[in-house]
């Protein structure tokens, strides 16, 4: 589904990602784990095109995306739910959902997508005319994911969906992620909560200082010395 080769990302003089290779297969849930500032969000931004990589290739279903702007990449089937959710705070829940699908469907089809999203997320249906900024953190995370799903993407990039949420809310978000996965959606999940990420993922990559330090199946990573010592503190 997704293949990244030799991706480098620079912010001015600072290089955040130093040649990363990774791939995500059809229907897989793959996680990128690593410490603060390791470069996880930069890799997702490089794939989605919101930060154009300085070097390297990104291929979706064999098709090169290198150098394309974010809106084109999105229309090719990649949706990013960014770190910090970034819902449009001054727009209503309904307007946020509408914009999520507007580039992909019109009229009745768009309404149908929105209605099916609302039946999947009853909490959003209750708050449809409320400003997104007035939702709780967990509700905003649900809205951000729902907004991404409105495009019916081939690949969903999720950046730290558990960030800043209460434990019960995190459980709900992760139930949703597992549900999506069961329905066959391909997901690349970034998490700092390593235990949580490895509990749902098929495979994972450990990112450190802008490089892939280790990769393997979720159970291999969970039992590896590096992960146990550096991230699971066992």
């Amino acid at each position: 589904m997704l293949r990244v080769e030799g991706m480098k990302i620079r912010y001015g003089a600072v290089q955040a990602v130093h040649g990363v290779d990774l791939n995500v297969g059809n229907g897989e849930l793959v996680t990128l784990i690593g410490a603060n500032g390791a470069g996880k969000s930069s890799i997702l931004a490089g794939i989605a095109g919101s930060i154009p990589p300085a070097e390297g290739k990104v291929l979706l279903k064999g098709q090169p995306l290198t150098g394309l702007p974010a809106d084109v990449i999105s229309r090719k089937g990649i949706a990013l739910t960014p770190e910090g959710r970034r819902v449009f705070a001054h727009l209503t829940v309904g307007e946020n959902l509408h914009l999520g699908g507007a580039a992909f469907a019109k009229g009745n089809e768009l309404r149908a997508r929105r209605d099916s999203m609302l039946s999947r997320f009853p909490i959003l249906a209750e708050r449809i005319d409320q400003k997104a900024g007035s939702l709780s953190g967990g509700e905003q995370q649900m809205l951000a994911i729902a907004r991404s799903l409105m495009s019916q993407p081939d690949l969903l990039l999720l950046d730290e969906p558990s960030l800043g949420l209460a434990p019960q809310t995190i459980d709900k978000v992760y139930e949703l992620i597992e549900d999506l996965r069961k329905q066959g959606l391909t997901i690349l999940l970034v998490e700092q909560n390593v235990e949580l990420a490895l509990s749902v993922a098929d495979r994972g990559y450990v990112v450190a200082n802008g490089r892939i330090a280790l990769s393997g199946t979720a159970s291999e990573l969970a039992s590896s010395d590096l992960v146990r010592q550096a991230y699971l503190a066992i």
Binding site: P69, S74, P82, R86, E95, A102, A103
Partner: protein, 294 residues
């Protein structure tokens, strides 16, 4: 009677400032550009009025040509001058817009005429209407009606259409809008088109009050509109409208208190009031939503 007359004057003058300030604010909120060439859009609309009147076109067509011409010019300005600078800083963009403004002015002065041209108003516009004892001129009345129509139309556009909702979203988080697959350049081009359209309407109202068109006609009203946008909170749309009417009220409302000695200082006194207001409310009356822009 006096009061009603003042109110009409405030609404008709403030309305022009509001339309112009709104155009500046829409572009600023999305692109981060303070477009100093906004005044030239008014001038372009003015010359289009002169030109299409000389062809003997009927008035509604003349006005339509002026508005659409200004909107198209705004989109072209973006396409030619600003789009290549998309990632530039706010200051660089501002200086670019100064450049565009200067080029347009020189072109009007040398290519068209350095002197003003009189615009003959249609007969009915010089008349007055009587409302229960009040006599109100047709010019301010049309101004108020057109301003109201433009503001209501824009409000509906921003709330009810996908493009309008995307524009509001883009003023909060432009990159997120493109991550949703929405075309960034379409959103930006629309904001320029709307700002041009509003400048065209403002030009019609301004000319109907002054009766002439000249190469520098856009300068003063747009300077005022810039002040109005700051009063309201730069980048805030509601703020721009409010700021326009507040500035109109300050200018018109100060008239009875001015003597022949102080009258030449009117603009200075009004600006002093604005400075005092900004000391109390540094972000303006209705500050913009803080987006990702610095």
């Amino acid at each position: 009677m006096e009061f009603v007359q003042y109110l009409v004057n405030i609404l008709s003058l403030g309305g022009i400032y509001a339309l112009l300030a709104l155009g500046l604010a829409i572009v600023f909120s999305i692109v981060g550009l303070i477009n100093f060439a906004h005044g030239e859009l008014m001038t372009i609309a003015g010359y289009l009025i002169v030109l299409s009147l000389s062809f003997g076109l009927p008035l509604p067509v003349v006005l339509l040509v002026a508005c659409l011409g200004a909107a198209l010019s705004a989109v072209l300005m973006d396409r030619i001058a600003f789009r290549p600078m998309r990632s530039a800083s706010v200051t660089t963009l501002m200086i670019t817009s100064f450049g565009v403004s200067t080029i347009c002015k020189v072109f009007f002065q040398n290519g068209v005429s350095a002197r003003g041209r009189a615009v003959a108003l249609p007969e009915w516009m010089s008349g007055t209407l009587t409302f229960g004892g009040f006599q109100i001129g047709m010019v301010p009345l049309t101004s108020i009606a057109l301003t109201a129509l433009a503001l209501i139309g824009l409000d509906i556009f921003l709330r009810k259409t996908t493009l309008g909702v995307a524009m509001r979203a883009a003023s909060e988080d432009f990159i997120m809008v493109s991550l949703l697959g929405l075309r960034a350049n379409t959103v930006i081009a629309t904001s320029f088109a709307i700002s041009g359209l509003l400048a065209g309407i403002a030009a019609i109202l301004w000319i109907s009050q002054r009766g002439s068109v000249d190469p520098l006609m856009g300068f003063t009203p747009v300077l005022k509109a810039f002040i109005a946008a700051i009063i309201g909170g730069l980048g805030s749309l509601r703020g721009a409208v409010l700021g326009g009417f507040v500035l109109g009220a300050l200018e018109v409302g100060s008239e009875p208190f001015l003597t022949t000695g102080t009258a030449p200082y009117r603009d200075a006194l009004v600006l002093l009031a604005v400075v005092l207001l900004l000391l109390v409310k540094p972000d303006g009356l209705l500050p913009a939503v803080r987006g990702l822009r610095s």
